[in-house]
Amino acid sequence: MLRVRGLTKKYGDTEVVRDLDLNVRPGECFGLLGPNGAGKTTTLRLLLGLIEPDSGSIELAGIEVPKHAREARMKIGVVPQMDNLDPDFSVCENLLAYGRYFGMEKSAIVARVPMLLEFAGLANKADAQIAQLSGGMKRRLTLARALVHDPDILFLDEPTTGLDPQARHLIWQGLRRLLADGKTIVLTTHFMDEAERLADRLAILDHGRLVAEGAPRALIESHIEPAVVEVFGEGLADWTGSHASSLCQRFENVGETLFCYTSDADAIIDSLKHAPTLRYLHRPSNLEDVFLKLTGRDLRD
């Protein structure tokens, strides 16, 4: 569905996207993960043909981008990071206006509106003004708007940033419905739970470069020890000095907490029983641990 080879984009001397290869199969949900500034949004803009790459090739549903970006965009629906619904129009008018940008006949758009409103859970809000909608409703309408021309593939740029848990679950539900209908989804996110929940496969980007790619579970298995014990409390420094290197395969001291990565958590927990001032949290390792291992813990902004 999407084939990217050697994609590179420079701004001045900085390479924002470096030699990127991606393969997205039809019907799958593909996640693009990365810290702020990793090149996720730039990659999406390149895929849409909004900006031209310095080198590399993009093929979207068999169409060459950016050369035939217009044809390619007929098959793509986009949910941008920032809501850009038309505030001068009502909910329903937003869908009508957006369909016209795809060259659709009014009757064809009108026929799809009830289905789109139902999908967005806004069936009773057709005539509401955009300013009256909650953040979650706006996101859902933006998602419905991206479907107005029945695209094969959807690009979502951080679709649930800024939403409360209820609203996020509704969006995820909608996306799963689209996947069940056979749509292909490419989404960027920096929420690991979102990626783990939705993505069949994902790519982790850092400094514009692909640092890992695979199914979420496979990434966890191949990049990191299966369990994590987070240790904190009084006397941590002493315990770290005497036990950490012998008991953990890998450990990391972050502020007041020691992250112990291990395949034998019981050994660590046994040792901690003799250190009553220390507290701990034992959990299976997750995508966030992989992400932090690969991209580091320093702030990017």
């Binding site: 849409l48 909004l50 044809e71 793509i76 038309d86 206006a97």
Partner: protein
């Protein structure tokens, strides 16, 4: 910059953009018409009658007629300028409407052509309203001749729409537009013969005035109101076309750098 500056690729796909602006405008058409049209008309009638009664013929015609012909061009210029400055800027920068449209199979060329043609439509409305007053008060020489004012008005709207889009492309905020009004629009209103004949100005200033687009607009509109064929029609038409097209092409390059870098 050189890679950004290229011939625009024009297509009919600009129509949904025009239509979007039209549908929004239609919702508030009555207050919009009153707001946009009442102002130039009040100036024209107030000054025309008030000042006109004190004055002999100006430029060979009653002052009200002189002023009405100037106001056609002036209010057309203002309508186009306000549209591509404040309204286009809202859609581009504040509401991000252009971003949304660009995710559809539309190019920036389409979006900005839609904005430009919409500005022309708004200026047509403004120009026609003044023309209606000219007809109503019988300020014209030959009725049929005044019909030529309609394409002139569209041309003037195109010229100032294109020029204004350049300002839109480089502006960080609404406040920036004040520079354009203070440094470009207001001097033009005073130098190009809206309120008094250019011949009243010092020779050097007349020389500057001859290059300004509003002068070309008025040199076309005023004779048509009075009922004679304008002199140097080709020169004026070409000048207005060049100002407008250059503006559009430069604005396209600058906006591309702003939005699609």
């Amino acid at each position: 910059m050189t890679s950004l500056l290229r011939l625009p690729r024009l297509s009919w796909r600009f129509i949904p953009v025009w239509q979007r602006n039209y549908l929004v405008w239609k919702k508030l058409a009555i207050p919009a018409i009153l707001g946009n049209l009442a102002d130039p008309m009040l100036y024209m009638l107030g000054l025309g009658y008030g000042l006109g009664s004190l004055l002999p013929d100006v430029g060979g015609m009653p002052y009200l007629t002189f002023l009405a012909a100037g106001t056609v061009a002036y209010s057309t210029m203002n309508a186009a300028t306000f549209e591509v400055l404040y309204s286009s800027f809202s859609r581009m920068h504040v509401q991000r409407t252009w971003d949304a449209i660009l995710n559809a199979p539309m190019t920036l060329d389409d979006v900005m052509l839609g904005e430009l043609t919409w500005a022309v439509s708004k200026s047509l409305l403004s120009g026609l309203a003044i023309l209606a007053v000219i007809w109503g008060l019988g300020l014209y020489g030959h009725f049929w001749m005044t019909l030529w004012i309609i394409p002139v008005v569209a041309l003037v709207g195109f010229c100032f729409g294109g020029m204004g889009l350049v300002m839109n492309a480089v502006s960080p905020s609404y406040d920036f537009f004040l520079y354009y009004f203070t440094l470009v629009i207001t001097p033009m209103v005073l130098l190009c013969g809206v309120f008094f004949p250019v011949s009243q100005l010092p020779a050097v200033v007349q020389g500057v005035s001859a290059w300004l687009p509003l002068t070309h607009a008025i040199d076309l509109a005023r004779p048509l109101v009075v009922g004679s064929m304008p002199d140097n029609i080709t020169l004026h038409v070409v000048a207005l076309l060049i100002y407008g097209s250059l503006g559009y092409v430069i604005a396209l390059a600058l906006t591309r750098r702003r939005l699609l870098k």
